[in-house]
Subunit: 371 residues, 2 copies
């Protein structure tokens, strides 16, 4: 949670009784009418992640009786999706909803709030952000760069991508044209992959024509809508470069500081409500979409162990370089990865064993009679 | 999310501009001052789960400028922890914070909102509650019984309990005196265990004197505070009878309906914020506590596979009986378990593979040099 919201002293001293006999104090308590514009980095077609902005907006309006209104604008409507950070920094819009790793090129530190290869999974990321000092530390960096940051949703663990041919060894990656950006792209480049950056809407024709051999997008529910299953047969996992991908609400520092304490608390709680909602939506929708994809011919494949291990080794080298060259990154990296080993050990022991056992029961139950 | 909160029409039509020129409308918009008492089922010593009530209370107060205040009372302060449902139904207190499986004896349907053996894990439970129709369906039952229910935290997956002797086979369970209640107790009874109900504060002396052979409580962080590691050496997992344990805010129907739409939305968002916060706290704290326990002599053990499998089989029989005898239970059971197989399959494939790979890397990194 954003501790500052919980601890913020409210502007109102003695809350007093509301009623006709106390007209003057009641007036003094009136909260301002505020209209904000939220620039989303996401298209409306990605209804789950884009919808996080709408869930936030509705909750904020409902809690304030319509006094605090946030209008949500899809990527491209006010500014292109990848210019949302600039627009919020410049106060062109008061706030934005984005995946902060889009701004890795400005400073790799942004990516640590969102997703980095071989990083934290969804639960681990939340534990770090809300209870491991992540939110406070990241906001030092974020506010220095003009924006206040609150988590606003998570896509959960993403898939590894769609491949036209099977990947059976490290050799099969050499020269492969793979649409993948950011740090994930950097690590695949070390393995000999020719990485490409192509917008989501162009992935289908590029795969169909063979301009690219493979593409990663999000996960089953979102990928299915692009129709990628029709032009690439093999769907690889795990998406080790995005063990989870957190999205954020970024608010211009001055706009944020001008809010009454009540509205800051409302933004914090609404962001949390939208985050829980988005994780639940992705889990519910992906589970059904993957089943549908597999039943209509998609071949699920696990990346070969040597590929995962080589990527892991190469990534450690990339992290070493980033840590050596950027003090902000190193500070955040140490915090982000500081609890990883303990979190993984605990998660795998108790809940991992439970999940494995339950998985075995479900598989047994789905076998035909006389198994 | 509680859809009704998002969709609720606010009492205020045109929000209007707040300001000195519009005194009358501003007065009409004033929200009432409300003071509620929350009876918690939990002692203050269980600071993570008890703290969920305090996180809620602080968020509600901060969002409303102190107009909506909820005072939090530990178990026993107003009513004993196990009488919280009765107290809220009777409007002795407006609301309570409890684990609804405590009321399994009144009607087993209550348990499905909280925890049942071989049920959903934390993410799956949230997906069902917020996006699988769980919240709406459960509230039909809950409101018929006098209370509105919102999720308010989750302990995450609990451990299987502390045992004085190792359990190597089903035979070792016969005649074992195990402190475990509810449906978990019923399934262990089928395996020949003599189940006991003992209050948390009495577990240490009961284990020390050998009055009982084993006891389950919550997980590493909470169990450590009771000192159970000093009187039982073997700590078993997985806690298959509580794959996760959701807690809830229950609100007297009339008190809830009397709230302005704004305050209903505030309760919904504050509950979500407290839920995310509690899951993050348990994850962060348990990961450190389990490490500390193991480093000071606790022996971690997995329940033998035949024990898990026998318990799973026996549980199906118990569920069949419950479904045959209780229409409310069956309706909720079908909803709760309806998505389990799909959720497990998806979770185990992508994220499970990622988690397993990361676990292997952490184990390799922790081996001494020259491994």
């Amino acid at each position: 949670m954003q501790r500052r919201s919980f601890l913020a002293k409210t502007a109102v001293g003695a809350a007093g009784a509301a009623g006709a006999t106390l007209a003057a104090p009641a007036m003094a308590q009136s909260l301002p009418t505020i209209r904000w514009r939220l620039a989303s980095s996401f298209p409306k077609s990605l209804d789950t992640i884009y919808g996080g902005g709408e869930v936030l907006s509705k909750a904020v309006s409902a809690m304030t009786g319509g006094k605090f209104q946030i209008s949500v604008h899809a990527g491209g409507e006010i500014v292109p999706g990848l210019q949302v950070l600039d627009a919020v920094q410049a106060n062109t819009v008061e706030c934005g909803h984005t995946a902060l790793y889009y701004f890795f090129g400005k400073d790799p530190t942004w990516a640590l709030a969102s997703a980095v290869p071989f990083g934290l999974n969804t639960r681990q990321h939340n534990a770090w952000w809300y209870q491991g000092g992540g939110a406070a530390l990241f906001n030092e960096f974020s506010q220095k760069n003009g924006v206040h940051s609150l988590m606003l949703g998570n896509t959960t663990g993403q898939m590894g991508g769609w491949f036209r041919k099977e990947i059976k060894s490290l050799e099969d990656l050499k020269g492969l044209k793979f649409r993948i950006a950011g740090l994930g792209g950097q690590v695949f480049a070390k393995l000999g992959v020719v990485t490409q950056q192509i917008a989501g809407g162009d992935l289908y024709p590029a795969l169909e024509k063979g301009t690219i051999d493979a593409a990663e997008w999000v996960g089953p529910y979102d990928d299915e809508k692009l129709g990628l299953q029709k032009v690439a047969k093999f769907y690889y996992y795990p998406g080790f470069f995005e063990g989870c991908t957190a999205a954020h609400l970024i608010v211009n520092n001055k706009a944020y500081e001008a809010l009454p304490a009540e509205y800051k608390a409302v933004l914090s709680a609404a962001s949390a409500e939208a985050t829980l909602d988005m994780i639940a939506k992705y889990d519910a929708r992906n589970a059904v979409a993957i089943k549908r994809l597999v039943s209509t011919g998609t071949q699920l494949r696990v990346f070969p162990r040597p590929v995962l291990e080589a990527a892991y080794r190469e990534m450690q080298g990339i992290y070493a370089q980033l840590n050596a060259g950027n003090a902000d990154f190193k500070k955040m990296y140490d915090s982000y990865f500081g609890s990883q080993a303990d979190q993984i050990a605990w998660g795998r022991a108790n809940e991992g064993t439970f999940d494995n056992f339950m998985s075995a029961q479900m598989q047994a139950a789905n076998k035909p009679a006389g198994k």
